[in-house]
Symmetry: C3
Subunit: 391 residues, 3 copies
C-alpha cells in the first residue's frame, strides 16, 4: 500500500469554494453509475499510454507521449501524490514508481480516495483484462452492481446455440432473469459503435427479429451484432421489461462515426419507447444537446463521464456546460474508468473539483444559496442514481 | 402591488463591472424584440412548473420540481425580492407568496423592473391564456408592437373560407395589410416545428401553392400547415413585401427535431431570398452557427433569447459565446418570455448582468474601452431592433 | 517606419500569468503554419472593411462598420499602438493614420512584433493582390515556405494543355516536383469550398480520373474543380507522395456550406488514406470535433487559426476549448492572415495572450507545473509544425 494521499481536491482554488460546500464535496460518497473494471494484471508503458487515449485504436506513436495531454497532466497532478510522489512528478518518475506496485496495490491505492459508495459496472468488454465486479468491490470496500450489455446478450444467446426461432423468447427470458437478479440494475446499448443513431428505431416484429437473427447466426464463429433491427429489438425489450437503459453517446474510439452519435438522433426512439430511465453516457461534444433532452423527456438522464477525465483541468468548463439547461434531477456522476485505476480516482477528483468551482462561483456571486449548491451535489453525485436504478 | 424591489443586477459582482458600464446597464431601456404575453389568469403550481420547462410537453414528474433547475434558481434569486421575499427564498415560500397575488398584480410587479421600452409580441400561440399586446402595454406602461405568424395566417385564411385558388392572392393582400398596419412590424415562421430546415427552400410557383393549399384545406377542421411548399411560400412572400422575418431556431419543445433546426440548414434560403432582415431566434445550442451567419449575411441577425432564461446563471457563458464572431450591429436582445411574467423580468435581468460581466471583463483587461462597451450594449439592447423593425 | 510599439501582450492581465510563462510567451518565435500574403497595394476603407469580414462576400453595408466587431476592437486595441496611436483609438483615427503609410511600411510595422520565425504560405488565392512568399520573407525578415493547392494544381494542368489522358501522370509528376522542391513543404485542399466533406472519399481509379478530367476540361476557359472524384484523387495522391495535407475546415466565407465542413465527415478519408500528416485548419465552430480527431488519429493535427483573429478577446475561450482533448503534440499555431498585415500580427498577439491566460490559470491553480506550460507553448507554437512539415 503506497504511503501517499491524494491532495486536497481544492488545492490551489480553496478561496473560490465556500467552506461548507467544499467540505461537502470533499467527503460526499458518490455513486459511479457507469464504470468498468481496473487492470488485474501488470501492464507495460505502451499499454498504459494506449489506455489513456480514448479515441485511437493504435499504439501511441513514437513522436509523442500521452502524458503530454490534459489527461496525462491530470494523472501527474492528482495521482502522483497517491503514490508518494510530489504533484507534477515527471512522467518517467511516475512510471518508475507505478511499476513498483502490483495491479491490486494500485487499485487499492487509487480507489479508496475516490470516495465511491457504489460502482455500477459495465462488464461487456474485454472482461478478462479487468477486475470482476466482485474483485473491484473487494479492492475498494464498496459494493458493485452490474449492467447487462444488450448486444452482448444477443451474441451470447446465438453463439451458445439458441436458434433464431427461439431467439426472441430467449432474449425476453434473459431480460426477466436480469430483472430478478439483485446484482443487475440496468442494461446498456452500444448502438453508437454498431450502427449509429440514424436508424429506424421502431419496434420490430418478432418475425423480423427471427429473420435477422438467422442472418446473423449464419455468419458463424464469434458474432457481432451490427444490425439495426436486432439492436432496436434489444432496446425496446429492455424498456418493456422496465430496465434502465444506458446508451453510449458521443466520445469514444474512432470505430464509431462520432457525428452519427449525436443524441438528438435518438429523438424517434425517445418519443416512442416505454419510458424507462434512459442514461445518455459521456455525450461530449454533444453534452448540451444531451442536457436539452434531459429537460425535454422525463425519462432521459445524462452524464459527462469519460470526458471529465479526458479533459483534465478543462473539465471545469465541461461541467459548467453540462449544467446549462437540464433539471438537476436528471444528471448523474460517472467516471467511465476502464483499465488504469487512476481513471477511477480522477473521475471523482475532477468532478468534485469542477463542481466546487462552478457551484462555488454561483454561491459567491449570490446566484444560489450554499445549501442549494450542496443539494445539487447530492442529486448529481448519488441521489439521482439511487432513484434511476432503484439502488 | 408587492412591496419588494428587484435586487441590483450586479449584486455580488459589482467589483467586476466598471462603474459607468454598470450604471448604463442598470438603466438602459431595452427593446424586447421577441416576447409573448403574460398569463392573464391564475395558474396552479403544476401549470407554473410546466411553464418553466421549455423542452417537455408533459407535466413535470413527481420525482422532481422545476425549481431545481437553472431557471428555477434564477426565479428564486431574482424574482423573490420583487415579491418582498429574500433572495433564494425556498420554492414553497415563493409559491405561497406568489399565490397571494392576482395575475395582473404579478405582471405589473415583474414588468416594471425589466426596464423594457417596447415589446415586440408574437401573438401566434395560445393567445387566450395570455395578455393581449394592448393589455401587456397597459400593465407595463410601455408600447407593444406585433409580429404576424406566417403559418397562422395561412391556416386562418384557409379555415375562414378562402379558396385554394384565391389563396396566393389573399395571402399577399394580408401581407400588404400587415405592411400598412402601424402595429405590425414583422413576421415569424415556425418552420422549425412544422418541417425542419432541411427542406427545398426555393420559391414555389403559384400553381404549386394552390395545389398544396387544396390538399391542406381538404383535411378540414382546424388546419395545421406542415407542408414545405406552403411554408416556403409564406417566407418568400413576406420577404418580397419587405417585412422582417423572425425564424424560430434551435431550443424549443420536443415536438421539433432539434438537429434539423441548425440555422446552417437555412443557407439555401438565406442565399436566395429577398434580403429583408432575418431574425434568428434563440439559436441555442447553435448560437455560434447563428453568429457566423450574422457575419456572413448582411440581412441576418440573431438573438439568444429563451436560452438566457433557461440557462440562469450559466447565461453569462452563453452571452459570451454569442459575441464570438457576429458584428455588434447584428445581435438583438429578447426574453422570449411566455406565460409567467417572471420570464419577462428575468430575460432583462440576466442579460444585463451577463453583458456586464462579459463586457466588464473586456474593459477591465483593456480589450476595449468603456465607451465601446456601452455602445455595444446600446446596439444589442435597443438600437439594432429599432433599425431592423423601423421602430 | 511607424514609431509605435505593440503593447505588451499581457497588459491588463499580468497578474494572471506567472512570470516565466509570460516571459516565454512574449518572446517565443512562432511558426505560422498557415498564412497568406499581405496586401501589396494601398486599399480603400471599403476594401479594408470587407477584408476583415470572413463570412460575407459582399461589401459591408452602410448601416454598420466592421470596426464594431470583435476583430475590429482587437485591431483598435493592439494595432493602433503599432502605428503610434493610443490603444482603442477611434476607427476613423485609426483609418486616417493607417492611410498615411504605404503597404510595405504597414507590413514591416505589423510583422516584426508578430515574432514569427517562419511563414508557411498558401499562395493559392488572389495572388496578385498579395505579397509573394519572397516579398513577405523580405518584409518580415523571416523565411517563408510554401503550400501547394491541390485543386489549383489540377486547374493549372488542365488549363495549360495537359490532356485528360495525361492528367493522372502529370499530376503525379507535379507532386513529385513538389516533394523535391525545398520551398514546398505541403499541400492543401479546399474541398470544403468545392464539394463539402460528405462525399465518397475512396481513392478513384485512373480511368475514372481521366473521365472526370475530360468532363472538366470540356468546360473550357478558367476551370473550377468541383468534382469529388478529382478532389479525392488529389488528396490521395498527395498522401501517397508523403506530402502533408492541409484541409480547410469550418469557418470560411458563405460560399461553403458550413455544416458540410464538420471535420467528422472526413472520417472515411482519415481511416483509409496513407497516414501523412493532415492539418485541419480553423475548424471553428467544430474545433472540439477537430481536437477529438487529433486524439483519435496519429496523423491528424489541427489549429484554430482564423477564428482566433475573428473572435478577438473571445479567443481566450476558444483557445481553452481547443485544449480539451487533443494531445499537445497535435495542435499548431496559425494566423491564417490574408490581406491586412494587422491580421498577421493579431494572430500572434491574441494566441500568446490566450495561451498565457489559459495555461497561466492552470499553473496558478496547480493543475500543471510552469515548465509543463512552457513545454506546451513550444509544442503548439513551433515544434509540432517543425515535425509535421520537416522544417
Amino acid at each position: 500500500m503506497p504511503g501517499g494521499d491524494v491532495t486536497d481536491v481544492f488545492a490551489g482554488v480553496a478561496d473560490r469554494v465556500p467552506g461548507a460546500l467544499a467540505d461537502h464535496l470533499r467527503t460526499v460518497r458518490l455513486v459511479d453509475h457507469h464504470v468498468h473494471g481496473a487492470f488485474n494484471k501488470p501492464v507495460d508503458r505502451a499499454t498504459f499510454e494506449a489506455s489513456i487515449n480514448e479515441g485511437s485504436t493504435d499504439p501511441v506513436s513514437d513522436f509523442m507521449t500521452m502524458f503530454d495531454s490534459p489527461l496525462g497532466l491530470a494523472i501527474r497532478r492528482w495521482c502522483a501524490p497517491v503514490l508518494g510522489l510530489p504533484p507534477h512528478a515527471p512522467a518517467d518518475d511516475y512510471w518508475a514508481r507505478r511499476s513498483e506496485l502490483g495491479p491490486d496495490e494500485l487499485t487499492i491505492a487509487m480507489l479508496a480516495p475516490a470516495g465511491v459508495s457504489r460502482w455500477v459496472i459495465d462488464t461487456g468488454f474485454k472482461g478478462d483484462l479487468l477486475t470482476t465486479p466482485d474483485q473491484l468491490a473487494e479492492l475498494s470496500g464498496s459494493p458493485a452492481s452490474e449492467i447487462l450489455r444488450l448486444e452482448r446478450l444477443t451474441e451470447d444467446l446465438l453463439e451458445s446455440g439458441t436458434t433464431p426461432d427461439d431467439f426472441p423468447a430467449a432474449f425476453r427470458t434473459a431480460l426477466q432473469q436480469a430483472v430478478d437478479a439483485p446484482n443487475i440494475v440496468g442494461t446498456k446499448t452500444i448502438a453508437a459503435y454498431r450502427v449509429g443513431f440514424d436508424i429506424d428505431w421502431s419496434r420490430p416484429t418478432d418475425a423480423a427479429v427471427v429473420e435477422h437473427a438467422r442472418a446473423l447466426a449464419a455468419q458463424g464463429g464469434a458474432l457481432r451484432v451490427d444490425d439495426p433491427v436486432l439492436i432496436a429489438f434489444g432496446v425496446h425489450e429492455a424498456a418493456e421489461h422496465g430496465l434502465p437503459i444506458q446508451v453510449h453517446v458521443g466520445f469514444g474510439d474512432r470505430d464509431l462515426d462520432l457525428h452519427r452519435t449525436d443524441p438528438l438522433l435518438l429523438l424517434p426512439l425517445l418519443r416512442t419507447m416505454a419510458p424507462v430511465p434512459v442514461l445518455l453516457l459521456h455525450c461530449y461534444p454533444f453534452h448540451r444537446q444531451a442536457g436539452y433532452l434531459a429537460q425535454a423527456f422525463d425519462h432521459v438522464n445524462f452524464d459527462v463521464g469519460l470526458a471529465i477525465n479526458y479533459l483534465g483541468s478543462r473539465s471545469t468548463a465541461l461541467v459548467g456546460e453540462a449544467l446549462d439547461t437540464a433539471p438537476f434531477a436528471k444528471q448523474l456522476y460517472s467516471s467511465d474508468a476502464f483499465g488504469p485505476p487512476e481513471l477511477h480516482l480522477l473521475g471523482a477528483v475532477l468532478w468534485r473539483r469542477a463542481m466546487g468551482l462552478v457551484l462555488g462561483e454561483w454561491v459567491r456571486t449570490g446566484e444560489c444559496g450554499e445549501q442549494d449548491a450542496i443539494a445539487i451535489v447530492d442529486m448529481i453525485g448519488a441521489r439521482n442514481a439511487a432513484r434511476v436504478y432503484s439502488l
